[in-house]
Amino acid sequence: MKNLSRGITGRIGKFGTLLVLLLIIVILSIAEPNFLSLKNFTNIMRQVSVTGIISFGMTMVIITGGIDLSPGSTLAFAGMVIAIFASAGNNIAAALSGIGIALLCGVINGGVIAVTGIPPFIMTLGMQLMARGAANIVTGGFPITNLNDTFRQIGGGSVGIIPIPIIIYAVLAVLSHLILAKTAFGKSVYAIGGNKEAAHLCGINVKLITFLVYAYMGIMTGIAAIILTSRVNAGNASVGVNYEFDAIIATVIGGTSLAGGIGTIFGCIIGALVVGCIDSGLTMLGVSAFYQQIFKGALIIVSVILDTYRSKAVKIRK
């Protein structure tokens, strides 16, 4: 009997998210027939790509047992710098500076967390405020508009019928998956989240790996900033608010445990699609943005409750 229930919890953990996604698609398709179209699907994917890329970094951070609350603000800060260069016509400088700024924020997060051992929650909450402040300082709060046409292709263009953001998203998904599942670095990430002390006693450089994970998060945020800035054709210091929560929801719904040690990039993609479908579906159904906020707030709570039950199931198995 015990074995049976264990098996079921295990299986729900693996395929549950996929089932939830299918269920949501079915319900929304019945409620709104236009929901299930190729056009809407590419639209959802295009929207998901920005927070989805952030959630690749978030997945790694959460697997180490940490959290990052700063990517939304970091994205705005990087976006401002990107827009300055892009409006001046220098696209390569725009891309490099965007990634560089976001990487810097990630490096500061990771460095302080690794060296001082303060809770990631506090460090990245502080960074959230600092990066938002920095984003506003760049132009004194004024948006930068009218970026060049080539740059706008990154967020708005397509290769064949596939929008470029989706291609970038897919490439980063494969890259993140390979890093997490196939490299020694990835194994160390899981080990640190599973048992920090044991990982240290295995000779894993816990501080270095922690640092690198937040740096990777920074790079992902920088790439997301390039896509977003290009798509909205502007640098705006107030963008990206609450994006970290979308990323956390996607990650946790995708089966990554907030307790650390467990999680996959595949799950994170499914989780991001769940968030994207709900966003798009509710908008199509005419639900106001304010109600959507309430719904999403509830969603993050529910997903963490589910995670708590999942962790309990794991503990029972221990």
Partner: protein
């Protein structure tokens, strides 16, 4: 018995306590008379704490009778026990640091109130002062507890018991963190309690204290009662023998040791607050046992050699060459491995698979351009699963599904993959069944046969005695004894571990 005419304050008869299927203590008799100091002795895990936690209402007993002042009692909480006159001064002081001395005394008790309903602080402080006067202790009852020394906090715990009119007070290793002067003051207070007719239960590993202040001794071993008698019937040697003296069950017979050159030598190694001036060496093919009580600094030495804990001074040499070990990875590159004491919290990554756990310390050698060679990982894991016969294991299975003994074999496999020359094994057989134990012993013997140098840290004396070529004994951060296999006995080791050095005394001052 000579004390028979004294009033019996508390009587425990045939006490048994089981946790799930494990019997912690069985059929223990224990009684406390008014005005006596009764020592409760035994090795770690003998059942002293369990017995006292039952008396203090912290655990409920599985069977047996407890009578306090002749009346049968069933405590459901420590509160019940305190109401019946049982007090406890715990090893880890458990006060509210932000509250004042007076407030701490009244926690969980009815406080005197003023007419309008507020607390009568003046009256509370007066009561508190009275108690400390009785103890002849000078303490500001209005100061916050966080400003006080450990010794004074202990006095508050004693006062807490007295203010509740405790008839029996249990002291659990009270002198462990006291200075000599504070210890003297504590003994004076205990003397006064005794004269006031309080029954004192005194748990300590320090033999000289026992013989100084106690009137009677009860010895427990492996959860059973062994002896109870007045102090004059015991000598230090006899007491140690009773505590450790289970017949030396021949767990394992080592093969013939072929001991070669010195591999690891440690000279004057110190780490602040952990251990000081420790020197020893381990040779090829030699198993050096390290005995001592929990907290004597044995694991700390192992961890310092493995680069986990900092070293303040001293020299470590491998094959005669001085080394500075900065991290576990550094240690493993120098062919030193460490099997940690706590399998679950230090040894295993529970959410990971068996194969991942086995390969985790050797990722460097399994990796090319950063990518793990999973085929090689599987080969290596399979090999160790086979050699150590880890039952029920396959490479992909979660390690959390294995039994304790097989989990331990996974941790052993993990350090073996590094092909070490020096193995530091910290309690390698703790909490595993006899079968797995003897397999680990066999492995240790084989490794020694292959010329490895092994440091075996263990709290189980029979294990140390049957596995070691040489035995080191530690007491409070210092080496207090070193014995050859032939001359070592449980008694000699027990005495050295209690700080009453015997055998080849190493001068550490």
């Amino acid at each position: 018995m000579g004390t028979g005419q004294k009033e019996t304050l508390c009587e425990m008869k045939q006490i048994t306590k089981c946790f799930d299927k494990v019997t912690a203590i069985k059929d223990i008799d224990f009684e406390i008379y008014a005005g006596e100091v009764h020592a409760l002795m035994g090795e770690n895990g003998a059942g002293k704490s369990t017995l006292m936690k039952i008396l203090y209402g912290y655990y409920s007993r599985t069977s047996g009778d407890v009578k306090v002042s002749g009346k049968e009692v069933h405590f459901n909480s420590t509160h019940d026990a305190e109401a019946a006159g049982i007090g406890m001064v715990p090893q880890e002081i458990d006060l509210f640091p932000e509250l004042t001395v007076t407030e701490n005394l009244f926690v969980g008790r009815k406080r005197p109130r003023k007419r309008w309903g507020g607390f009568d602080t003046g009256k509370m402080q007066e009561e508190a002062r009275e108690v400390f006067e009785k103890l002849d202790v000078n303490l500001d009852v209005a100061s916050q507890v966080k400003h006080l020394s450990v010794a004074n906090c202990q006095m508050i715990e004693i006062a807490r018991a007295l203010i509740r009119q405790a008839k029996v007070i249990i002291f659990d290793e009270p002198t462990a963190s006291l200075t000599d002067r504070e210890t003297e003051r504590l003994f004076k207070v205990i003397q006064e309690l005794k004269e006031a007719g309080v029954g004192v239960v005194y748990i300590s590993h320090r033999l000289e204290e026992i013989f100084r202040i106690c009137d009677r001794i009860t010895v427990l071993r492996d959860g059973r009662w062994v002896a109870s008698d007045v102090i004059s019937e015991f000598s230090q040697d006899k007491l140690v023998k009773l505590m450790v003296g289970r017949p030396l069950s021949q767990l394992f017979t080592r093969g013939v040791s072929r001991i070669g050159n010195t591999v690891l030598s440690v000279e004057g190694l110190s780490s602040d607050g952990r251990f000081s001036d420790v020197s020893f060496e381990i040779r090829e093919g030699e198993v050096v046992g390290m005995a001592g009580l929990i907290g004597a600094g044995r694991s700390e030495i192992g961890q310092a050699l493995f680069g986990v804990l900092p070293v303040a001074s001293g020299v470590v040499k491998i094959h005669g060459k001085e080394v500075h070990i900065k991290s576990p990875e550094d240690a493993m590159r120098k062919k030193i491995v460490y099997l940690p004491e706590e399998r679950r919290s230090q040894g295993l990554i529970l959410p990971m698979s068996i194969g991942s756990n086995i390969s985790l310390a050797s990722l460097g050698s399994l990796t090319r351009y950063g990518f793990v060679n999973f085929k090689k990982e599987k080969e290596i894991s399979d090999r160790y699963i086979h050699t150590l016969s880890i039952r029920g294991a396959s490479v992909d299975k979660p390690v959390s599904q294995l039994s304790g003994g097989n989990q331990q074999k996974v941790v052993v496999s993990k350090i073996m993959v590094r092909e070490p020359e020096i193995l530091i094994l910290d309690e390698p057989t703790r909490g595993i069944d006899i079968g797995a134990k003897s397999e680990i012993y066999k492995l240790i013997d084989e490794l020694a046969g292959q010329g490895k140098a092994i440091l075996l840290i263990s709290s189980e004396l029979p294990e140390v005695l049957s596995m070691s070529d040489r035995i080191l004994v530690m007491h409070e951060g210092k080496l207090t004894g070193e014995f050859d296999k032939e001359e070592a006995t449980q008694e000699k080791i027990g005495l050295a571990a209690s700080g009453v050095a015997d055998g080849r005394q190493i001068d550490t001052d």
